[in-house]
C-alpha cells in the first residue's frame, strides 16, 4: 500500500534512477563525479526555464516564448556588460526585461482572452525577430572590461568545486518550491489550473496571478539567458532555439499535467535531469545527433505513456 503510493508519486525519480543504472552498465565513465557535475551543469539552463514553465503549466497555460526571451535578454545583457555597466545593474535590468516580456504575454492572455498557445507563439516569433534586429544577426561579445570577468563567473565559475549554474539552479528550485507549497500565491496557481471558474468565484484575482506567472517564466528565461551568455562570453542571436520544447518536456516528464492544477517543482527538476542524462549518455556513447533526437522523443513518449496508464488505473 504505502510502497505503491510511493512508487506512483515518484515515478519520474524511479525512471531517472533506472535510466542512470542502465547507462552506467553501458558505459563505465558515466558515473564519474566529473561527468555527474557536467550533466548537472548542462541541465541547469533547461531546469531554470522549466521551473518557470511549471508555474505556467500549473495554471493550464503554456509559454512558447521562453527560448526567444532567453536570446533577447542575453543580447541585452551582453551589450550592457560590454558597455561596462555595473554587474548588479546589468543583471537586474536583464531579469526585468525578461519579466516584462513575460508579463506582456500574461496581459494579452488575461485581458484580451487570447489562448496562451497563440499569445506566446506570437511572442516567440516577435521576440526572436527583435533579437535579430537588435543584434543585426551577429553575436554580441561581453567585452574586455573587468566586469566581463566577474560576469563570466555566472556561467563558467565554480564555488566549492560545484559549477555556479548548478548552485543557481538549486537556489531557484528552493525558491520555487517555497512559493508553490508555502504561499498564498502558490495555492492560487494550483486553484486556477484546477478550475479557473472556481478560482474566480473564490475571489482570486485570476488575471493578476496569471500575469505574475508569465512574468516569472520570462524572468527565469532571462536568468537562463544570463547563464548561457556568461558561459559563452557572448550572446548569440539564435540562442535558445527550441528550448521551450525541452522545458515543456521536462515539466511533463516530471509528472505535471498539461491540463493544469497538478504537479510538483521537484518533478520538473527530475524531468530536466532525465533529459540531461539522456543527452549526455547518447553523447558519450557516440550516438549521432540525428539519432539522438529520435531516441529522446521515444523516451519522452514512453514516460508519458507509463504516466497516463498509471492514472487511468487508479
Amino acid at each position: 500500500m504505502k510502497l505503491n503510493d510511493f512508487i506512483s508519486e515518484n515515478k519520474s525519480l524511479i525512471g531517472l534512477i533506472i535510466l542512470m543504472a542502465a547507462v552506467s552498465f553501458a558505459n563505465a565513465n558515466f558515473l564519474g563525479i566529473d561527468n555527474m557535475l557536467n550533466i548537472l551543469r548542462q541541465t541547469s539552463i533547461n531546469a531554470v526555464i522549466a521551473m518557470g514553465m511549471t508555474f505556467v503549466i500549473l495554471t493550464a497555460g503554456i509559454d512558447l516564448a521562453v527560448g526567444s526571451i532567453l536570446a533577447f535578454a542575453g543580447a541585452i545583457c551582453a551589450s550592457l556588460i560590454g558597455m561596462d555597466t555595473p554587474l548588479i545593474i546589468a543583471l537586474v535590468a536583464t531579469i526585468m526585461v525578461g519579466a516584462g516580456l513575460g508579463a506582456t504575454s500574461g496581459v494579452i492572455i488575461s485581458y484580451f482572452n487570447v489562448q496562451p498557445f497563440i499569445a506566446t507563439l506570437v511572442g516567440m516569433t516577435m521576440i526572436r525577430g527583435a533579437t535579430l534586429v537588435y543584434t543585426q544577426g551577429r553575436p554580441i561579445s561581453t567585452g574586455y572590461f573587468d566586469v566581463a570577468e566577474s560576469f563570466y563567473q555566472f556561467g563558467g565559475g565554480y564555488m566549492f568545486g560545484i559549477p555556479n549554474p548548478v548552485i543557481l539552479m538549486v537556489v531557484i528550485f528552493a525558491l520555487c518550491w517555497f512559493v508553490l507549497s508555502q504561499t498564498r500565491f502558490g495555492r492560487y496557481v494550483y486553484a486556477i489550473g484546477g478550475n479557473e471558474n472556481v478560482a474566480r468565484l473564490s475571489g482570486i484575482n485570476v488575471k493578476k496571478v496569471k500575469i505574475l506567472v508569465y512574468a516569472l517564466s520570462g524572468a527565469l528565461a532571462a536568468l537562463a539567458g544570463i547563464i548561457l551568455t556568461a558561459r559563452l562570453e557572448s550572446a548569440q542571436p539564435t540562442a535558445g532555439l527550441g528550448y521551450e520544447l525541452d522545458a515543456i518536456a521536462a515539466v511533463v516528464l516530471g509528472g505535471t499535467s498539461l491540463a493544469g492544477g497538478k504537479g510538483r517543482i521537484f518533478g520538473t527538476i527530475i524531468g530536466a535531469l532525465i533529459i540531461g542524462v539522456l543527452n549526455n549518455a547518447l553523447n558519450i556513447m557516440d550516438v549521432s545527433s540525428y539519432y539522438q533526437m529520435i531516441a529522446k522523443g521515444a523516451v519522452i513518449l514512453l514516460a508519458v505513456v507509463v504516466d497516463s496508464r498509471g492514472k487511468s488505473n487508479a
Binding site: 504561499t183 498564498r184 495555492r187 494550483y190 486553484a191 478560482a199 473564490s202 475571489g203 492544477g261
Partner: protein
C-alpha cells in the same frame, strides 16, 4: 412481477475502506425502488457498479437472468441500463442536442444526421415539457434545465432499467411534478426504476419499494406502504430525529445589506434590505432570476444599474473579489463547475476563499493554523472523509456540498448567500445545517437563502421574498408565508413578464 436486475452480495472497497458490505438489491419491471441512505452510505457507488463505472470486488449482478460484468458505462447503456448521474455529466460547450446524443450520433453514410438529432432531442424535451431549443449551448441553461436535459438523455436511450441518482435535487416543485408524470409513464411501460433522493416526501409520493443503506450495509428492504417516515429516518441514521426545521426567531440587528433597484442579467430593479441576524428566503421558479441576483450581489454578474450597500456604505462590485472583500460569502448551487476544484484536496478547497486568514503580510500560509480550522469544520459539519487530503471528487455528493458551505464560512463573512445549500444533503445533515444557520444567525450573520425546497424555505426563513421573471413579486413575513401565496407570486408575471 418480473425481476429485471438482481444484485447479490456486492462488496466494494476504496483504498482499503469498505464502502459496500454484501449488498443485495432487486429491480423489478413496472416498479420504482427508492434507494435511501445518508451521505456517503454508498448509494451512488452501488449504482456505478451496476452501470460498469466501478468494478465490484465481490458479488454477482444478474441482468435479465444472466450474470453480467460491465466494464464501461457504454456496455451497460447498450444493454439497456440508463443512469442519470448525481453529478451532471454534460459538456457545457456543446449544444443540448449534441449532449443528448453524445457518442451515439445517428449517421448516414458516415455523416451525422443533425436534423434527426435535433428533432429527437426536441421530442424528449417536449415530453418533459421543456421549451428549450436543442441548439442552445448547454452552459447557457440553468442547473435545473441542465438536469432536465440529463433526464431527456436517459429517456432517449429507451433503457429498460433507469437509475436516477438524485434527479430532483436541482429541481423546483414544478419540474419535479413533470418528472414524476414521466416516471409514472415509464412504470406503466414496465420499466424498472431506481430513485435516489434526500427529499423523503418524494420517496413516499413516488416509489413502490424502498431499500435503505447505512454505512454500506442494506438495513431494510420492503414496500414503501409498510414504512413510516420516522422509521425511514431511523433506519437511515440509526437514531430518532425530531423537528426537522428547528427555528429560532430572529432578533434582527441593524440593516446589514441594502439592495436598491438592482438590474443585472436576469434581474430587474430588485430592491430589498436584510438585517444582521436574520434569514431572508428567496422563492421562485426555475429561471426566476434568483441565482442571477445572488451572483450580481456577490460581484460575479455585472451590475447594469442600481446599488448594493453594506452597513450603509455603497460597495463597488466588479468581480467576486470585490464581493469577498466586502465580506459577502456565496455558496453556489453548482458545486462541480463553480464551487470546488474537483481534482484537488478537501483542505485546500475549503480554505481557498479565506486563505488570507492564515497568511502573514508576505503571503506565507501558516499551515498549522489552517489545518486546525479545516479540521474544526470537518468536525462541525460531520464531513465523512478519511482526512483533509481526500480529493473532492472522491467524496460523496452530500459531503462535497458540506465542504462547499464550510468554504464560504472560512473568511467569516457578514452576509452569506446560500444558493440551494442543502442540495444533495441527507436529512440528518440538513438538520445540522439548519442548526448551524440558526447559530450563525444568532451571531449576527445576515443570511440570504435561495431554495427550491419549499418546506425548507418556509421552515427556516424569517422573511421570504418571491421573484418571478427577474422581478420581486411578493414579500412575506414568516407568519404570512404559505406555500399557496408564495406560488401565486411565483407564477405572477410569468405570462406577461
Amino acid at each position: 412481477m418480473t425481476t429485471l436486475l438482481e444484485l447479490q452480495g456486492i462488496e466494494k472497497s476504496f483504498s482499503g475502506i469498505n464502502v459496500l458490505k454484501s449488498v443485495d438489491l432487486t429491480i423489478r419491471a413496472g416498479r420504482v425502488v427508492a434507494l435511501a441512505g445518508e451521505n456517503g452510505a454508498g448509494k451512488s457507488t452501488l449504482m456505478k457498479i451496476i452501470s460498469g463505472i466501478y468494478q465490484r470486488d465481490a458479488g454477482t449482478v444478474i441482468y435479465k437472468g444472466k450474470e453480467v460484468r460491465f466494464t464501461t458505462a457504454r456496455q451497460s447503456m447498450d444493454a439497456g441500463i440508463g443512469i442519470i448521474h448525481q453529478e451532471l455529466n454534460l459538456l457545457p460547450e456543446l449544444s443540448v442536442a449534441e449532449n443528448i446524443y453524445l457518442g451515439r450520433e445517428p449517421t448516414k453514410l458516415g455523416k451525422i444526421q443533425w436534423d434527426v438529432i435535433e428533432r429527437e432531442s426536441k421530442k424528449y424535451l417536449a415530453q418533459l415539457k421543456q421549451d428549450i431549443d436543442p441548439k442552445t449551448p448547454l452552459g447557457k441553461l440553468s442547473i435545473a434545465q441542465q438536469q432536465m436535459v440529463e433526464i431527456a438523455k436517459a429517456l432517449s436511450l429507451n433503457a429498460e432499467v433507469i437509475i436516477m441518482d438524485e434527479p430532483t435535487d436541482a429541481l423546483t416543485d414544478i419540474e419535479t411534478a413533470i418528472l414524476f408524470e414521466v416516471v409514472d409513464e415509464l412504470r406503466a411501460q414496465g420499466k424498472g426504476l431506481v430513485f435516489i433522493s434526500h427529499r423523503l416526501g418524494e420517496i413516499f409520493q413516488m416509489c413502490d419499494d424502498i431499500a435503505i443503506l447505512r454505512d454500506g450495509e442494506m438495513v431494510h428492504q420492503g414496500p414503501v406502504s409498510e414504512i413510516t417516515e420516522d422509521d425511514l429516518i431511523r433506519h437511515m441514521v440509526g437514531r430518532e430525529l425530531s423537528d426537522q426545521y428547528p427555528f429560532v426567531p430572529a432578533v434582527p440587528g441593524d440593516v446589514r445589506i441594502e439592495v436598491e433597484k438592482l438590474t443585472a442579467h436576469g434581474a430587474q430593479e430588485v430592491s430589498f434590505t436584510a438585517h444582521a441576524g436574520e434569514v431572508v428566503g428567496f422563492a421562485g421558479l426555475v429561471g426566476a432570476g434568483r441565482t442571477e441576483l445572488a451572483k450580481a450581489i456577490f460581484g460575479a454578474n455585472p451590475i447594469q444599474s442600481g446599488a448594493v450597500k453594506i452597513d450603509g456604505k455603497a460597495i463597488r462590485l466588479r468581480s467576486p473579489q470585490d464581493g469577498v472583500k466586502a465580506q459577502i460569502g456565496y455558496v453556489t448551487e453548482d458545486r462541480k463547475q463553480e464551487g470546488l476544484v474537483q481534482s484537488q484536496e478537501l483542505g485546500t478547497n475549503m480554505s481557498l476563499t479565506g486563505l488570507d486568514r492564515f497568511c502573514n503580510a508576505l503571503g506565507f500560509v501558516n499551515k498549522a493554523s489552517e489545518a486546525v480550522t479545516i479540521s474544526e469544520y470537518i468536525e462541525a459539519f460531520a464531513i465523512k472523509t478519511r482526512d483533509a487530503n481526500t480529493i473532492i471528487s472522491n467524496l460523496s455528493g452530500g459531503n462535497q456540498q458540506k465542504v462547499s458551505i464550510a468554504k464560504s464560512l472560512v473568511p467569516e463573512p457578514k452576509v452569506l448567500i446560500l444558493d440551494e445549500p442543502t442540495r444533495g444533503v441527507d436529512v440528518g445533515a440538513k438538520r445540522e445545517i439548519y442548526t448551524l444557520i440558526n447559530k450563525l444567525k444568532a451571531e449576527g450573520l445576515c443570511i440570504l437563502l435561495i431554495s427550491s425546497d419549499m418546506p425548507e424555505l418556509l421552515g427556516i426563513s424569517d422573511r421570504i421574498h418571491v421573484l418571478s421573471s427577474g422581478k420581486l413579486t411578493g414579500s412575506f413575513a414568516r407568519a404570512e408565508a404559505t406555500q399557496e401565496n408564495i406560488m401565486r407570486c411565483a407564477v405572477a408575471g410569468q405570462t406577461n413578464g
